[in-house]
Every structure is written in structure tokens, then in C-alpha cells.
């Protein structure tokens, strides 16, 4: 009896299944073909062509302006005229003035721009649709060279690596603390990370506004953040299943915190590099100092889960590098090929990674609080972590 029932329910992929799967797709193709040929009874012909040209970035060289543009409209378009500060200028386009959908091109103009002045550029397509880009402060765009490369490296070093390592140097001192204080520190780390995660998300949303609409910046944030969160969660569960040792588990969490902070710093490096390129520069030693103070907490966060263990020096150094060094990479990318698309993607990954790490820390804290209830410790820890960043931010900004 049982056998008789189970027999027909056996799932097998047959030719018949394939046909059944294909029928709706074939029908869909038919509907689309019908719609395209007849218009489906709707008059959808646009009286004016819809075009969209995104100026992704600009490069200023002596007597030359280069615009990197991307066609983010539904159809191909042709660049026909370039106006700089109310003057029609001769120009060339490589590879071709006609840019296919989602294709990119570079517009070159020989223009004697002046250091420190502002320029407004309007690009007209052959359908007379204008697209504007502003150069708020003109100055020569840094070109990849040994010097600028080293400069960007130094920025990343200061922004990421040094503060993270300074935080890690607290390790010996913090090891002397009691269990309750360690739990407090873990909670504070969670608080720090929640603050950083929100900040990263806000920044991702901000940059997403600059991404050409065809690339759907907000959707990109969702994909990057959710995928990273679930991937890290899966890795963590697999590790727990393999080792089971709580020490290893805590070390894994510390490593993941380092990865999350690393992505965060990558995003910040991108922002700094890009800011340098477009001339959004204000200067002050005070701000660098403040910056190091604020980011030292990132190092603290990395070591919090492993305070009661004995991780090797090499392991600690590795975690410091993972947390801090991406700032250097970010500064290179942002400095040489600023791309809002990449920035959003990295910031989204950072958001997902950071919130996953908060989740991991929460699990560790839960283990501690299972042994000994300390609700106020967790509350005050998380709040302390968040307030720490908020207050240092308040002082610096």
C-alpha cells in the first residue's frame, strides 16, 4: 500500500516537466512580441526621447578636462556639444560620440582652466537634452605615481591601521579585568558596532543617490548587506559545527569583527580618496588627531571577545591588519578610480558584516549572561559604546 502511493509521487525531471516549464515562457515571449508590434492598444511613443547621461567623474590635467560619462538611459545617445562656463568648446569623444546603453565614454576638451576656480559644464546630446556637471574647485587631478600612491597609502595607514593597532595594544591591560567587566566591554563593542553600522548604512544611502539610476543603488545596498550578513552567519555556524570549542568560537568572532571593521574602513578609504580627487579638502591637524581617537575604539572592539583567551601575537597582528589595512586599499581605489557603484557595494558589504558581528557578539554575551544575570551591564555597555562614538563625534565635529 505504502509502496503504491510512494511510486507516483517520486519526483523525476522528465521531458514533460521541461515542456510544462517552458510553456509560460513561450507564452510570455508571444505576449511581448505582440505588445512590441501593436503597442497593445496603448500609445507609448514618447514625444521626446528619454536620455540619461551620468558624468561619473572628471579628470583635470593642465589645459585639459576629461569627463568620464556613462549612458544610463534606455537607448543609445550621441554627445553633440559641450559648453563650459557659457562657452561652446570643441571636444573629442573616445571611443565614440555615440554611446550604447550602459556604455561609457570619455569626453576630452582642451580648456585653459584656472587653478582654484569653479566650472560648470553642460553636455548636450544630439536630441538637445542637456546634462550638467559642476567642478566646484578646479585643481589638477592626482595621477597614479609613486608619490601619490605613497600618499594614499599613508592616509589609509592613519585612517585605518594605526588606530586599530593602538586599540589592540590595550589587550594586556584589559586581560586583568574580571568576567563582568569583560562582558561590559563586549556589550560596549556591540554598541560601537551598532553605531558604526548605522553610520555605514547612512553613508551607503548617501552615495547610492549618486549612482546612475539604472544601477539601482538602494537595491544594491540590500543585496550587499543581506548577502554579507547571511554569508558570515553561515560561515560562523559551520565553524561552530566543526570545532565546537568556545575559545575557537570567540576567536572566530574577533576575526569577524576585524572583517566587518575592515569593510567599514574600506568604505571610508574610498570616501577619502574620492574626496581628495574632487577637491573637497579642508585641512587641520586637530581633525587627524580626533580621527585617530575615534577609530581607536575599533581596535578595542576587535579584541573584546578574546580577552579571556590567549591568542598568539601573530593572530592579533593579522586581525589588526584585516581591520585597518582595507582603508589603504579604499584610498587607492577611491583616489584613482572613484566609482559610486563600487563605493555603495563596499559600504553595503560593510553594513551587512557589521550587523552580523553584532549578532555574533550578542550570542556570546547571551552565553555569559546565562551563567550570571547582569542586565544592567549589557544595557550600560551597549549604551556606553554608542555614546562613546557619539560624544567623540560631537567633540570633533
Amino acid at each position: 500500500m505504502t509502496q503504491q502511493i510512494s511510486q507516483p509521487t517520486t519526483k523525476r525531471f522528465t521531458f514533460r516537466t521541461l515542456i510544462l516549464l517552458l510553456i509560460p515562457i513561450v507564452l510570455l515571449a508571444g505576449v511581448i512580441a505582440l505588445f512590441l508590434s501593436t503597442g497593445g492598444g496603448l500609445d507609448l511613443d514618447s514625444p521626446a526621447p528619454v536620455e540619461n547621461l551620468a558624468v561619473e567623474n572628471y579628470v583635470l590635467e593642465r589645459n585639459e578636462i576629461h569627463l568620464h560619462v556613462r549612458n544610463t538611459g534606455p537607448e543609445e545617445l550621441t554627445v553633440a556639444t559641450v559648453i563650459i562656463n557659457e562657452a561652446i568648446m570643441p571636444f573629442t569623444v573616445t571611443p565614440d560620440p555615440t554611446i550604447p546603453r550602459l556604455g561609457s565614454a570619455e569626453i576630452h576638451i582642451n580648456y585653459a582652466w584656472s587653478e582654484g576656480e569653479a566650472y560648470g559644464i553642460t553636455v548636450f546630446t544630439s536630441n538637445a537634452i542637456p546634462f550638467a556637471v559642476d567642478i566646484p574647485v578646479a585643481f589638477e587631478t592626482p595621477q597614479p605615481s609613486a608619490r601619490t600612491f605613497w600618499a594614499f597609502t599613508l592616509i589609509g595607514l592613519y585612517v585605518g591601521v594605526i588606530p586599530v593597532f593602538l586599540g589592540i595594544f590595550w589587550f594586556p591591560a584589559l586581560r586583568q579585568l574580571g568576567r563582568r567587566t569583560m562582558t561590559f566591554l563586549m556589550a560596549a563593542t556591540a554598541g560601537l558596532l551598532i553605531f558604526l553600522g548605522l553610520d555605514t548604512l547612512a553613508e551607503a544611502l548617501e552615495v547610492a543617490a549618486e549612482v546612475p539610476s539604472a544601477f539601482q543603488g538602494i537595491g544594491l545596498i540590500g543585496i550587499g548587506a543581506v548577502a554579507t550578513f547571511l554569508l558570515l552567519d553561515a560561515i560562523s555556524r559551520r565553524q561552530t559545527a566543526i570545532t565546537g570549542s568556545e575559545t575557537d568560537r570567540r576567536l572566530a568572532v574577533a576575526m569577524m569583527i576585524a572583517i566587518g571593521i575592515g569593510f567599514h574602513n574600506l568604505g571610508e578609504g574610498l570616501a577619502i580618496g574620492a574626496a581628495y580627487n574632487v577637491g573637497e579638502i579642508a585641512l587641520g591637524t586637530f581633525l587627524v588627531v580626533g580621527f585617530i581617537i575615534q577609530n581607536i575604539t575599533e581596535g578595542l572592539g576587535i579584541i573584546a571577545p578574546v580577552l579571556r583567551d590567549r591568542p598568539s601575537l601573530g593572530r592579533l597582528a593579522l586581525m589588526g591588519l584585516i581591520g585597518g589595512a582595507p582603508a589603504i586599499l579604499g584610498a587607492w581605489i577611491g583616489g584613482y578610480t572613484p566609482s559610486p557603484f563600487l563605493a555603495v557595494l563596499f559600504l553595503a558589504i560593510g553594513t551587512g558584516a557589521i550587523f552580523e558581528v553584532v549578532y555574533e557578539i550578542a550570542k556570546l554575551i547571551q552565553k555569559d549572561t546565562a551563567r550570571e544575570a547582569m542586565p544592567m551591564t549589557v544595557f550600560s555597555g551597549v549604551l556606553t559604546g554608542m555614546l562613546l562614538l557619539w560624544v567623540t563625534g560631537l567633540l570633533i565635529k
Binding site: A80, P90, W113, F291, G393
Partner: protein
């Protein structure tokens, strides 16, 4: 004010580093290097040396054949009409003008969906002698109502303004014959007067109307007509390009060739919409100026004149030396957006 985000702070902080700790790493020979004191930034406003980049202008050529007109030809294209004599002995000049929608390539690669008289911008230069009978058979071949409003003396029903009779607004497919005596002598203009007026003019419905005095003007070697216009290519009620006789930069790309000592007379009309003023400046020379051309005595000897919309005047000059000489709007913004030309004066 937008509060500073952590990212703003990072930009600031990161670059502070560039200005201080990174100073050695940054190029010392980089003339664009910014130092940490903001006031020094301002002292570095230096024009780029050496090659000063390209001059404003266009690359390539618009398709004059497809446009149906060439500004070089418009310059000396005076339409005296079909001439006959009326029973009373008066000279009759008959013209045919058709309003047409037409795409005009105004810059290489950019077409302007224009409204035109006889398919060109500006429309034909109507020329008659004071006292002649003018008869203009106007038909509207476009899909908007249009009219022709002439400046000069004429009866109200010939004024081409909505509300003055059938000639005030000619429906698509319709026609009307404007008829009046050409007076007073001078340099005038005509344009569509259907509302919205600014749009009907900006789209290209205008032309010059020259009434010569009975005894004529003193003879000159060359006469030219120049109608100063603007092109609002994206219909935002602001001009994007400026021109003389329709096509921006045409006489920069194709200098007007004249000879040393030749006497030149220019009939200059300003029909520029949206902008308050237009102007004409002649390089390395002075000209006699006859505002509206209604007097045979010049009012001014100058090298620059200003005209508001529909103002016009006659310029007379000759060149002493051979060479290339610019003429352009001394509203220099207009010059760099297309209203710039050259006289090539040959020995």
C-alpha cells in the same frame, strides 16, 4: 545647514593628514599642491601657462543643404519680390511666404525643431522701395496658427496680430494676403505675432524688412544683412546658443571675405528673445551708425552698438588694413556661445 557626517569628517581628517604628515610624500614640484593654510589656496589662482587650450567654437559643419539655407548666402540674399506695375503707376512687389515646421541642424549633430518662414532662419529678407505696394501671400503649412506682423506703416487689419481680423491668426492650412505700402524708409523687421509670442519668435519666425528711400542710399561696394538671433534648444525659455543669420559660429568658421577700402553696409537686426540686450562690436575699425535706418545722416561713429529686441540699424564702414578681424556681440557670453564672426580683409 547640513550637519557634518562622519564621512565629511573623514574627508576633512584624511586630507588634513595629506596637508601635514603626508607633505613629504606629496610632490613638491606639483604646482597644484595645496598647503595647509587656506589663504595660500587663493594665492595660487594662476592661469595655466603655455598653450591656452582651444578657442570656443564648433568642430565640423552643419548640413546646409539639408537645412535648406546657408548663412553665407543669406548675407546677400535680398528678396525684391515679383515686380509689376499697378494701373496707378505704383510698383507692386509680390512675395510668397509659407510657415513650415522644420528641423534645422544648428550645431553639428544637434537639430532644432524650428518654425520657419520659407524653411529658413531668418526668413527671406524682404526689400522694397519707399512707396511700393507690398503684397505678401502668406500660407500656413505648419500645425500651429501663425501670422506675419510687419514693423512699419499699415492698416490695422494688416498688422498680423490676433484680434485684428483674418490676418491676425492664420490657422494651419489657411492663408492670408498682407498688402500695404512700404513706408517709412528704413530697416525694419517682421515676425509672427501669435501667442505665446516669445515661443513663436524664439522658434524662428522672423526676418528683415528693408525699405529703401525713394532716391536710394549712397552707393556702397557690398551690402549685407545680419539678423541676430538666439536658439533655445531645450525650451527652458533661456537661450542656449547665439547666432547671426541662424547658425552659431558660421562666420567664424566661414570668414566673410572683403577687400581693403571696400565700402560695406550692414543691415543689422536684433530679434533675440529672452535676453534683454544684444550688441555688435567691430574689431580694429569704426562704423557710421544709422539707428532704424530712418535717416540718411549717421547718429554715431563708433565700434560698438547695443540693440534691444526688434531694434535695428545700418552700419557703414571700410577696412584700412588687410587681415582677419572679429565681429561679435560685446555681450561676450553670447560671443562664446556662437555670436562670433570674422571678416577676412584682403589687400
Amino acid at each position: 545647514m547640513k550637519p557634518l557626517s562622519r564621512r565629511d569628517f573623514l574627508k576633512v581628517g584624511g586630507l588634513a593628514f595629506l596637508g601635514t604628515a603626508g607633505a613629504t610624500a606629496l610632490t613638491q614640484n606639483n604646482q597644484n599642491h595645496r598647503t595647509e593654510e587656506p589663504h595660500k589656496v587663493h594665492s595660487s589662482h594662476v592661469m595655466q601657462q603655455g598653450d591656452h587650450g582651444d578657442l570656443p567654437g564648433t568642430v565640423g559643419e552643419v548640413d546646409h543643404e539639408k537645412n535648406g539655407f546657408d548663412p553665407t548666402e543669406i548675407l546677400t540674399d535680398f528678396d525684391y519680390g515679383e515686380v509689376s506695375t499697378l494701373p496707378n503707376g505704383q510698383t507692386l512687389r509680390e512675395y510668397r511666404i509659407v510657415a513650415l515646421n522644420k528641423n534645422i541642424e544648428v550645431l553639428p549633430g544637434i537639430e532644432f525643431p524650428a518654425w520657419t518662414y520659407n524653411g529658413r532662419i531668418p526668413g527671406p529678407t524682404i526689400r522694397a522701395t519707399e512707396g511700393d505696394r507690398i503684397r505678401i501671400q502668406f500660407s500656413n503649412g505648419s500645425n500651429h496658427p501663425h501670422s506675419i506682423h510687419f514693423h512699419g506703416f499699415h492698416p490695422g487689419e494688416m498688422d498680423g496680430v490676433p484680434g485684428t481680423g483674418p490676418g491676425g491668426l492664420v490657422e494651419p492650412g489657411g492663408s492670408f494676403t498682407y498688402e500695404f505700402d512700404a513706408e517709412p524708409f528704413g530697416l525694419h523687421l517682421y515676425h509672427c505675432h501669435v501667442f505665446p509670442l516669445a515661443r513663436h519668435i524664439a522658434k524662428g519666425l522672423y526676418g528683415a524688412f528693408i525699405v529703401d528711400p525713394k532716391e536710394g542710399r549712397p552707393a556702397v561696394d557690398r551690402e549685407m544683412v545680419m539678423v541676430m538671433n538666439g536658439i533655445d534648444i531645450d525650451f527652458d525659455d533661456a537661450n542656449d546658443f547665439y547666432a547671426v543669420n541662424g547658425i552659431p559660429f558660421h562666420y567664424q568658421n566661414h570668414p566673410i571675405q572683403i577687400r581693403v577700402g571696400e565700402t560695406i553696409r550692414i543691415y543689422l537686426v536684433n530679434i533675440l528673445e529672452f535676453d534683454l540686450l544684444n550688441s555688435f562690436h567691430l574689431h580694429a575699425n569704426f562704423f557710421h551708425y544709422y539707428p532704424t535706418g530712418t535717416s540718411l545722416v549717421p547718429s554715431e561713429f563708433t565700434d560698438t552698438i547695443i540693440q534691444g529686441q526688434a531694434q535695428r540699424g545700418i552700419l557703414e564702414f571700410s577696412y584700412k588694413y588687410p587681415g582677419m578681424y572679429m565681429f561679435h556681440a560685446h555681450v561676450t557670453e553670447f560671443a562664446e556661445l556662437g555670436w562670433n564672426g570674422m571678416f577676412e580683409v584682403m589687400a
